[in-house]
Structures are given as C-alpha cells and as structure tokens.
Amino acid sequence: MRAWLWSHVDAFAGTLARLARTPVATLLNVGVLGIALALPAGFYVVLANIQGYASAFAADPRLSVFVKIGTPQKQTRDIETRLQQHSAVRSVRYIPRDDALKQLAERTGLGDVAASLAENPLPDAFVVEPRDAAPQALERLRDELRDWPNVAQVELDAQWARRLEAGLALARLAVLLLAALFAFALVAVTFNTIRLQILTRREEIEVAKLIGATDPFIRRPLLYFGSLQGLAGGLAAWAIVAVSLCLMNDGLAALSQLYGTRIELQQLGIQDGLSLLFFAAVLGWLGAWLSVNQHLARLDLH
C-alpha cells in the first residue's frame, strides 16, 4: 500500500519535473488548452450574467397603462377605480406625469433636458400587477385594457424579458455545442502531446518493461502528464476569463455611467471554476488514456 502510494507520488513529482524541464513547450500547450477552454467558459459567464438581469425582470410581469395626454383628472381617477375593481388585477400604482418627469430627471441625469422642455411630454400612468402571470392571461388583460376609454397604450413589461429568455435558451445551446467542440480539441491536443512523450521516452519505457515494470507503472506518469496539463489549461482558462471580465467591467462602468446605471459582470463562481478545473483534468486524462492505449501497444514491447 505504501509502495503503491509512493509510486503515485513519484509519478506525480516526476511529471511536474518533466513539465518544468521543457518550459516553452509546456507553456504553449497549456496556452492552447487555456484558450480552448476560455472561449466556452467566457461565454458561459456572460450568459449567466445576462440571465441574472433578465430573471429579475421576468419574475414579476407587470402591465404599464398609459393614459391619453390631456385627459381630465376625474377620468384618470375613474380608470384607477376601474382597475382596482377588476378581478384580474392584484394591485395598481398610480404614477402622475409630473412624478414621472421628476424621476426621469433624477435617475437618468437628463435634468437639463427635462428643465428645458416647454411642457411635460409624459402621460399619466398606472403600473398594474396582475393576479395571473401566465402569458395568455397577461395578453388577454392587455387587450381588454387597451379598449378602455382614455387609455393610450398598454405595455407588457415582461415581454422583452421573455423574448430575452428565449434568446438565452438558444445561446445556452450554442455554449454547450462550443464546449463540446473545445472539449474534443482538448482531448486531441493531449492525445498528441502524450504520443510525443511516448516517442521521446521510448527507450526508458522499453528498458523499464524489460526489467519488470508492469503496464500500470508505465502508464501512470503519462496519465498524470495528461491530467496535469489539462488542469493547468483549466487554470489558464479561469485566469483568461477573470482578466477579460475585469477589463470588460472597466469599459462597462464607463458606458453604463452614461446611461445613469451601474452594470457589472460577475466573475465565474468558485463552484463553476472548480468544475472547469475538474473537467479540464478529466479530459486531459482521457486524451492521455486514449493515446497510451493506442501507442504503447504499437511500440510492440515484450
């Protein structure tokens, strides 16, 4: 048992030493693996971010009911009463046009523009929270309210979020396909690296076999090589994604400030990052395993 453990420690240490002995080749290989993994991982992070924003909106669908400009105060009140009594409506919030303009000026930094307007272009509005969030119920309610007198327009706030959600589902599929392709690339790159390892270490493998090395003993360092290289590629990918997001956040901060909000992309979570490393190592191992099986048999050793 102890000997077995030592042989693993030896294989591990020997592999690290071997990787360190050819730093340029190692860096290039790890770089290729890192880039291959960074692409799907990066898209995944951006998608997760967009999804976070989208779900915040999509969760509680609302209807915005805009009253025709110039409608007398009394009629506007009538609409509010009617809405409150409607069976499909859970709650109603009235936003007078003056408040709406004030909010616009405060929130978006367009105060100068608002002040320069001769008259308020915004209508009175109601934010309606429906009892039933099902798409068909929402659309039915929207169509009904649209026909009421003095109602200029009814908008389903959640609609864009739904469209976004559908788009995101498509994008998720694209990320999955991308990940599968690059996983294949990782296995292929490892396969070739291990093939070269076997060729350069041919003599050592031959002698070791002649003096009583078992197949697992010969495979072990090669499998470690594949896994470690994959793991290093995973780490490189994580670093690439993290640095890219940092750079993008700087740009986004400047951009979103112009719109008066603050959007920030979240980094890859610890759990996702660890999964990335795990899969990179497993794929590296798989590439090495395939290569070892192919090429050791072809060496035709006795």
């Binding site: 003599e203 002698v207 002649l210 006795h302």
Partner: protein
Amino acid sequence: MISFSKVWKRYPGGLEALRNITLAIEPGEMVFITGHSGAGKSTFLKLAAAIERPTGGSIIVNGQNIGAMRPGAVPYLRRNFGLVFQDQKLLFDRNAFDNVMLPLHINGFDRREAARRVRAALDKVGLLAKEKALPITLSGGEQQRLAIARAVVHRPAILLADEPTGNLDAGHATDIGELFRSFHQVGVTVVIATHDEALAARLQPRVVALKSGAVVS
C-alpha cells in the same frame, strides 16, 4: 530453476534460431552458452526471460511455464532476473545513480533503502565515485559495469548476461569476469552467453555449446 524441454524457436520468415533444445539449469549454477554469432545464444536468453515466446516445447522458470503465461504475470517473473543486455540499454538522459535506481523504483522499494542499495551496487562494480556521472561520460568498461550494477541491484536469483565482455579489452573483461564469479559465489544462478574463451577458461563454468540452434555439447 530454468528448464528447457524440446524447445523450438522459429522466426517469421523461416529462420530456425533454436532447434529442439532440452536443458536444465540448477539453482546456483554458473552456465556459459557459447557458439558463433547466429548460433542462438541471444535467443536462448530471450526465451528464458520471457522476452520472446517459444514456437514449440516448454520452458519452466521458477516453476512457471513461460509459454502459457498471462501477459500480466510476465513483469513479476522478470523481477527474478538481472538482465545484462548486449547493447547495455543504459538511459542516457539520467546519471549513473538514477540508472541503477530504476529496477528498485519498479519494484517499489522504500526510498532510503533503495538509495542504500544503489550505492552498494555501485560500490561493488567500482563506480561509487561516479554516481553523478552521465553514462555518455563513462568509458566502455565503466558502462558495462554500470549495466551490471543495474542488473544486480535488486538482488535477483538469476543473472542473465548477453556478451558482457563483447566490446572490452582483456583487462576490463577480467574485472567483469571476477564480478560474475563473486555473484555466483553468493548463490546467484549465472547464465552468460559469450564466445569469450579466455573468460570460460578462467571461471570454469558448465559450458553449453550451440551450433545452428542445436546443442552440440
């Protein structure tokens, strides 16, 4: 210890390297396999170490039939042997110490014990001072002694050597011969394929002469 019974070895292409060899080597014996090049000396050693399989007949080593062996069992059989190859097969990317360490590494020895044994083996062949040297910097005789150190470091019961004095001058060949004599004296079964008659005259072993793949004496 090693027993050949009606062994034939035919290579693809029709070359018959060994014909109907029946031979038993007892534990602790020293045997020289002699004959011209192509007489089948190397093939005999390769069959004994399960590097090749016989075409016919049976070979029993340590009670195991080599012809019927699972591939997975071969490595464990080989650990009973110390092999000295005709072309030495030293690894030129590592120093003398690490070359001799390889069999112990494969056998899963404890490291401290392994290092002690490596130094003992290097001392035995007179290379202790050169443990850090790369094989390429060693002379022909030193390389041969390093190969012997690697073959005996795990204290095998059987030592198989193929032309161990082949490329050496008389002085070095004598040293090598004394090494084999000392292993034989501590009970190791020694089988040497050679055409070095001077060596045979000095060590007085049992001699098996091969000619065209058959035993002639």
